[in-house]
């Protein structure tokens, strides 16, 4: 146990650092303060998390963490709980510490602790460490795709890390698991406690075949090539192993149908105590998975059907996740793209839009993007088909331009390395009433969103801006 004085010192410094880093405009003030707090007191997470009356839940997986955590947060709030959540981009120990410090009083008391719950999105590789510190009630494992191989290592490395962590979880910890991802579903073999499985049943949503970038195409147990009756996207689908007979487990929470509706979709879910119908302002099957994941986690928390349904319906699109901005008569949609499975889904959304296609693609190779950009060759850009206007930007603009040339989008794609100019040109090239899709990697998204946000507030984009 740690003393109140040490705890106060940790909280004071975490908050001070938060204010300082907001002043310096560094990442919205979330990553730095937690780092400071952790340096002063490594037990701060454990101590503060133990004060949350309703405990904590963790959300981990390659794609959809931010959206899923936001959905879960809405459901918890609908249940009358006060949520402590880390913000996106701060999904390691320090982000969790910063969130907890922000919810505590100076003396370490948690304000309104009886109704408090922690909802934390957690980096795949950091998950075991965070779980040991916060001692969560439930952990959601959503999917595992190749992503930033230079940082995380290979998919099987992360899967093995997760299996080991799950074996060590206490028996009263509930797992919410994606049954359609064979690498994730394998965790149910290792689980000690209760498991809530979720998956998609609506086979009308199936993709053509396994995408080029499909990762977990081999059985983790016997090594045979998995067989699929339905592939939804990436390696998610209805799978079975012809070698050892392992198969997609029967899910407890299912997506029974998905219907497109005004740029969003109507998702019908079946959960153990009934049906849920919810309209979400997001497109793409991967977001239906996020909805099912949030519902599974809510079921794991013992929340009721009505609460889950109303909570999910409160959702609004987040920063750079199909957020729609109105700029000078155009709709500008920013969709974060960071790995082959994610971008393949974005391409499906764009090709489903019957309007003419206007794209701006930004490829950066910063640490948070992954320094290795070879993944763009694993994306099926060929499926974009005909594109009306295209502007390519970012620090590795020419690598992206070359990939798009290979995908048949013209021998000389338009490259503009100045981000402000690239956005201005893309918007000008989009006819009034049309939609511009802006597809940035993570650090590019922060930059792009900043510029577009300014223009959206002003309603115009042509006034003098410098990047």
């Amino acid at each position: 146990m740690i003393t109140v004085m040490r705890l106060t010192a940790a909280i004071v410094s975490a908050r001070a650092a938060a204010a300082l880093s907001r002043g310096l405009r560094r990442g919205g003030g979330t990553a730095l303060p937690g780092l400071v707090a952790e340096r002063i007191d490594p037990d701060i997470i454990r101590t503060l998390a133990s004060k949350l009356g309703h405990g904590s839940v963790l959300v981990t997986g390659t794609n959809g963490k931010t959206t899923t955590a936001r959905l879960v947060r809405n459901v918890c709030e609908e249940a009358g709980l006060r949520v402590v959540a880390n913000s996106e981009g701060s999904n390691m120990m320090r982000g969790v510490a910063a969130a907890l410090a922000g919810a505590a009083d100076w003396d370490g008391r948690m304000r309104g602790r009886k109704r408090r719950i922690g909802v934390f999105e957690v980096d795949e590789a950091t998950m075991p460490i965070v779980a040991r510190a916060v001692n969560p009630r439930a952990v959601l494992f959503s999917n595992l795709f190749r992503d930033q191989l230079d940082r995380y290592g290979e998919v099987e490395t992360v899967a093995a890390l997760w299996r080991k962590a799950v074996r060590d979880f206490p028996a009263d910890l509930t797992l919410a698991i994606n049954a359609d991802d064979p690498a994730v579903a394998s965790l149910s073999d290792a689980a000690v406690g209760t498991v809530i499985l979720y998956g998609v049943e609506d086979t009308s949503q199936a993709g053509d075949a396994l995408e080029h970038a499909a990762d977990a195409r081999w059985c983790y147990a016997c090594g045979a090539e998995l067989a699929y009756t339905t592939v939804f996207y990436g390696h998610l689908g209805h799978w079975r192993c012809p070698g050892c007979g392992r198969a997609r487990p029967e899910p407890d929470v299912t997506v029974s149908s998905v219907t497109s509706q005004d740029g969003g979709m109507l998702v019908k879910l079946t959960i153990p105590d009934g049906e849920i119908n919810v309209r979400i302002p997001l497109a793409g099957l991967y977001n239906a998975y996020n909805v099912a994941a949030a519902a599974a986690l809510a079921v794991a928390l013992g929340l009721e059907r009505d609460v889950i349904e109303r909570g999910l319906a409160r959702f609004t699109a987040g920063f750079g996740r199909q957020e729609r901005l109105a700029i000078d008569g155009r709709e500008v949609q920013v969709i974060l793209a960071k790995n082959p499975a994610g971008v393949n889904q974005v391409i499906r959304i764009i090709t489903a839009d019957p309007g003419s296609k206007h794209l701006a693609i930004f490829l950066n190779d910063g640490l948070a993007d992954g320094r290795d950009i070879s993944w763009i060759w694993d994306v099926d850009f060929e499926k974009l088909g005909e594109v009306s206007t295209l502007v390519v930007g970012g620090e590795r603009s020419w690598d992206m331009a070359l990939r798009l040339k290979y995908a048949g989008l013209g021998d000389h794609p338009h490259v503009e390395d100045d981000t402000v100019a690239a956005l201005r040109e893309s918007i000008s090239a989009t006819p009034e009433g049309g939609t511009l899709y802006v597809i940035p990697t993570y650090t590019a998204m922060l930059q792009v969103r900043n510029i577009l946000g300014r223009w959206a507030r002003r309603g115009a984009f042509w006034e003098g801006d410098r990047s």
Partner: protein, 250 residues
Amino acid sequence: MKLRLAHLYPKLMNIYGDRGNIMCFRRRTEGRGIDLEVDELTLGDRFDPAAYDLVFIGGAQDVEQRRVADDLLDVKAEALREYAENDGVMLAVCGGYQLMGAYYKGADGGELAGAHVLDIWTEHPGEGAQRCIGNIAIEREDDTIVGFENHGGRTYLGQKARPLGRVVSGYGNNGIDGTEGAVYGNVFGTYMHGSLLPKNPRFADRLISLALAKREGDVQLSPLDDMVETQAHAQALRHATRRKRVRLGG
């Protein structure tokens, strides 16, 4: 004109955008009116050394690499050696490069026997050792090659292998001797992915020319519009050379 390419284990060895290399071979042959026929050879398939002008093998996850190593030894290694001895053209990247050597000693000390096509061997210094990760640029003859490397193993060259090039920035084979990749006859091994060939068009053309020379004699490749390729090469080179050659202790 026609070239036949064997893509070894495409579903198993494909982790770092390796298909870009196949796409590049296709684009740069078909752009010159050369037909390219690609056969995908997987576990159990025999390799016929007389049937191919080009061979490509990419990188993989560790688990998959072990399965490929077994199959190479049992089914393909002898034929690949025969192919190499007859000046067959091959490009082996990352894990595929390691497997063309004598052996790969893993982090746990376990050894995988290689195909003995290249006189090289690879040893992983053990769990916790620094991985060689980052943009890399090398100089070779009158060319510069750029890419990305990500490997735990350190590769060393024997008497019969020449380096593909000298490291300008990055780690290369082992982070010590300043070499990157290995060449024996017309077999080229390298740690560089990214994908390697699309933004290194001169090196891609070199491989195509070598393959054509065996079948058709000397053929002059007509120039292609490489504006985007040249820009991508230059941009990647600028990124890579922000840091110098990395020297590891050892």
